[in-house]
């Protein structure tokens, strides 16, 4: 038996009514959309620290926030995104209370605060804990950002933090949808956040996953990923509530799927079995099939393993369409913003929503030569182009440890 779609009685329509984000393109939805839709890259020279030892040319640093000693970078990003989404969604006092939840995904949370206090405990003799680092202690746990945000919005409902690396925020969005569908909450502020730190960069450098140049999803010359930072938040709520309060509905979440490879802690299932199951689960939940998908927003990290696995999975899922020359276009927004880890899934979904609203297909920048066998696939490598009837987007993500997610989003008004 395959893990199944949610039952019909739990299918309360859930919609997205607000977006707020900070990316390597700057603060705000408009900044990100401008860079993406113009087909340029938000990746730039790293200024946070010396990139020399890592051999980096570019990175996805957000220049919208200043480095302030004593302020955790991840929390700064989260605050900026929260400012935007709460204003955009029109959430205020009415949304406070036990029917509102907060679910965030992150890989390392406020890691700057955490890593800073380690040094205190490297000295000998071990120091008696003092009040001097009170703030860093407070921010030490990975869920601090979530509970702080919950307190800010007055959310007294379910509050949790998902730590699933690259699928953290897509799983957080799905978790939010589940909470609304099962009646645990009427609305949830959800998304993810991740800061650019040497802590994480060093880890990716060690595993040899960093690109020497641009991030080139599904390209023959891809040689790794480009790390980035960001925070992406969405307000999700019951569709009837959104309509009743006159909210602008940006998109409807029509299908969610998660599946584990159960294969290896570092390598994905090379056959893409987990990703395929996640996608098919989302299809089953939405009651649609591959032919209904107008656009695929792939994880597209630019690493050999990930892109290879994704290609195999998509080739199988969309085989009939590909054979008929009707494979939906597939792009990777990480080529523009870099890989934001804990924020990646929500960023991919946010950009997919904007693409639907604008009726355009955004490009996979830096993509030159498709992987062997995928020459007929449409990666839209050059520039944004208008598309008729872009109503349903499939957004997928995968993570170390073999976790996969698939989110089906439908354009509002369809």
């Amino acid at each position: 038996m395959v893990s199944g779609p949610r039952t019909a009685e739990s299918q309360v329509p859930v919609v997205v009514t607000g977006l707020g984000l900070v990316t390597s393109a700057g603060a705000g939805v408009d900044s990100a959309w401008k860079v993406l839709s113009e087909g340029t890259s938000a990746l730039s020279e790293l200024t946070l620290f010396d990139p020399g030892p890592y051999g980096l040319e570019i990175a996805g640093e957000s220049h919208s926030i200043e480095r302030v000693p004593g302020q955790d970078r991840a929390l700064q990003l989260l605050d900026l995104a929260a400012d935007e989404v709460l204003g955009a969604a029109g959430w205020g006092d009415t949304q406070r209370g036990p029917e509102t939840g907060v679910v965030l995904g992150t890989c390392q949370g406020a890691i700057e605060s955490a890593s800073a206090i380690h040094r205190s405990y490297a000295s000998r003799p071990v120091p008696e804990p003092t009040d001097a680092d009170r703030k860093a202690f407070a921010e030490y746990r990975p869920g601090f950002g979530t509970t702080r945000l919950a307190k800010r919005v007055g959310a007294e409902g379910p509050t949790s933090t998902v730590g699933m690396v690259c699928v953290s925020s897509s799983v957080a969005l799905m978790h939010a949808v589940d909470l609304i569908r099962c009646g645990e909450a009427r609305r949830v502020l959800a998304g993810g956040f991740e800061a650019f730190t040497q802590f994480v960069l060093t880890g990716f450098h060690c595993i040899g996953a960093l690109a020497s140049g641009p991030l080139r999803p599904f390209d023959q010359n891809r040689d790794g990923t480009v790390l980035a930072e960001g925070a992406v938040l969405m307000t999700l709520e019951r569709e009837d509530d959104a309509i009743a309060r006159g909210a602008t509905i940006l998109a409807r979440v029509i299908g969610c799927g998660v599946a584990a490879d159960a294969f290896h802690m570092t390598a994905p299932d090379p056959k893409g079995g987990g990703l395929e199951r996640a996608v098919r689960q989302a299809f089953a939940e939405a009651g649609i099939g591959p032919a209904d998908v107008d656009y695929i927003s792939a994880h597209g990290t630019g690493t050999a393993f990930n892109d290879g696995m994704e290609s195999v999975a998509f080739a199988r899922i969309f085989k009939e369409l590909a054979d008929a020359g009707q494979m939906p276009p597939l792009t990777g927004v990480k080529s523009v913003f870099g890989h934001t880890l804990g924020a990646a899934g929500a960023l991919d979904a946010a950009m997919a929503i904007l693409a639907m609203r604008h009726g355009v297909l955004t490009p996979t920048v830096s993509h030159v030569a498709p992987l062997e066998g995928l020459e007929d696939w449409d990666f839209n490598p050059h520039q944004t182009r208008p598309v008729e009837g872009m109503d349903i987007v499939l957004s997928t993500n995968s993570a170390f440890g073999g976790n996969n997610s698939a989110l089906l989003l439908q354009r509002a008004g369809v």
Binding site: S10, P129, H175, G203, V258, A260, F400
Partner: protein, 427 residues
């Protein structure tokens, strides 16, 4: 609309300072023992200087898992504690992983990444960061030390400590290919993992889930952090090596462990002839806004959601030992179940200490064992904090056991995140 799927517990796996397995926990509780001992080395130099650790059965790991696939050395301490608990659980169900894949089963764990999991990374960061001269607070990173720091960074160290590894390892070890998720961030995340696993089954996304939590607090920064939150017992007198929540003696002690439950749809369990230990009666989770009015009311809502009908025979409350939290806990239980209700209390912290996100699931495990009559925890008489009379009195009371008995376990955290799960014992 059809009735929602009913979810039952058909298996329990435990790692605790008393050893591996529910029986070890039951024996320790029934004998009134505790697992506390002085901490050694650098840990011993920090408050509270005492803790309850488990001597991990490394050699026996192959009893539960195929060590050709994965070894204990590939896991952090939390992942080890969780996987061993799950391995013992599956062995008890005669479901030892055999390489088969299970598309309809998943794994949710609550955990918390702590710095020893990043030992080499942390060493690198320690080299990189320093406090500005003349400053009493704050740190800066020194790029000039990067080359030296990089010598200590390790790819493997980084990967094994990624936050999703507790649940990912479990799915890899068991071959479970359904939903897998690690919940982080609060001491209630273990209960959240169980609650969300119940929801996953109810909504039809999986037919069975392993869910619970595993955690080890034994690291300098973590001990120091909890100390600054006022969690540890720093009594230098005779009471310094014990935990007595709801009493006039404040403070807890650190402990490590894990508890995982095999949850499945009742219909499936009955069809395969499984022994049903208990049925889940409900799950509630709430967030408390600091300084807001009605904090106990919000906590009470979570408790009522866990057991919507009736009053519990047993409660397994947080037992933090921090007076302000204990008093709110007591008030919430009175509000939820009535001032006249007198539930018996099963508290694990006096025996095995406070193990962060694993405390709630370990409490649920203890309540389950007690409700079924598999454990008879020694009753504890404490000098009650006047604001905690209900729960303090419950420590000395015994409750109903056997089929139909009910229990509610909860994690009420300093962070403001609160979760509760209720069960009804089966024959």
């Amino acid at each position: 609309m059809s009735a929602p799927r009913r979810v039952v517990i058909t298996g329990l796996g435990v790692t605790s300072p008393f050893g591996v397995g529910p029986a070890a926990l039951a024996d320790g509780l029934s004998a009134g023992r505790d697992g506390f001992a002085p901490l050694e080395g650098r840990l011993g130099a920090l408050p509270p200087g005492v803790g309850a650790k488990l001597d991990l059965p490394r050699k026996e790991f192959k009893l539960w898992f195929d060590t050709r696939v994965l070894r204990l050395s590939t896991m952090t301490r939390q992942t080890q504690l969780g996987c061993i608990a799950a391995g013992d659980l599956l062995k008890s169900l005669d479901m030892v992983p055999d390489g088969s894949k299970h598309l309809d089963r998943g794994a949710f764990l609550g955990s918390f990444i702590v710095p020893p999991d990043f030992a080499k990374q942390v060493r690198a960061i320690r080299i990189l960061s320093h406090r500005p001269e003349g400053e009493e607070t704050g740190f800066v990173l020194d790029d000039g030390r990067l080359a030296e720091a990089m010598k200590f960074a390790s790819a493997f160290d980084f990967l094994r400590a990624l936050p999703n590894m507790p649940s990912s390892h479990l799915s890899i070890q068991t071959g479970y290919q359904g939903p897998a998720c690690t919940y982080l961030g609060s001491d209630a995340s273990g209960m959240q993992a169980i609650g969300m696993a119940v929801q996953v089954i109810r909504s039809g996304q999986a037919t069975a889930m392993i869910a619970g939590a595993a955690f080890s607090p034994f690291q300098e920064v973590h001990l120091a952090w909890q100390h600054k939150r006022g969690l540890w017992n720093t009594d230098e007198g005779a009471g310094g090596d014990r935990v007595r929540p709801y009493s006039t003696q404040a403070g807890s002690l650190p402990g490590e462990g894990g508890a995982v439950f095999y949850l499945e749809e009742r219909e499936m369990a009955e069809a395969r002839g499984a022994t049903i230990l208990a049925e889940i009666t409900g799950y509630g989770q709430r967030m408390i806004i600091p300084d807001a009015a009605g904090q106990a009311d919000v906590r009470a809502e979570a408790l009522r959601a866990a057991l919507p009908d009736g009053t519990p025979d047993w409660v397994a409350p947080s037992g933090l030992g921090r007076p302000d939290m204990d008093r709110l806990d007591d008030e919430a239980h009175r509000l939820a179940f009535g001032a006249q209700s007198a539930p018996a209390v099963v508290a694990v912290t006096p025996h095995i200490g406070f193990s962060g996100p694993a405390t709630g699931p370990l409490g649920l495990a203890a309540a389950l064992l007690t409700g079924r009559g598999d454990a008879t925890p020694a009753r504890i008489t404490v000098d009650a904090d006047p604001g905690c009379a209900t729960l303090a009195g419950g420590l000395a009371r015994a409750g109903r056991t056997g089929a139909g008995a009910t229990a509610v376990a909860s994690s009420f955290t300093v962070d403001g995140v609160h979760a509760a799960i209720g069960v009804r014992i089966e024959a």
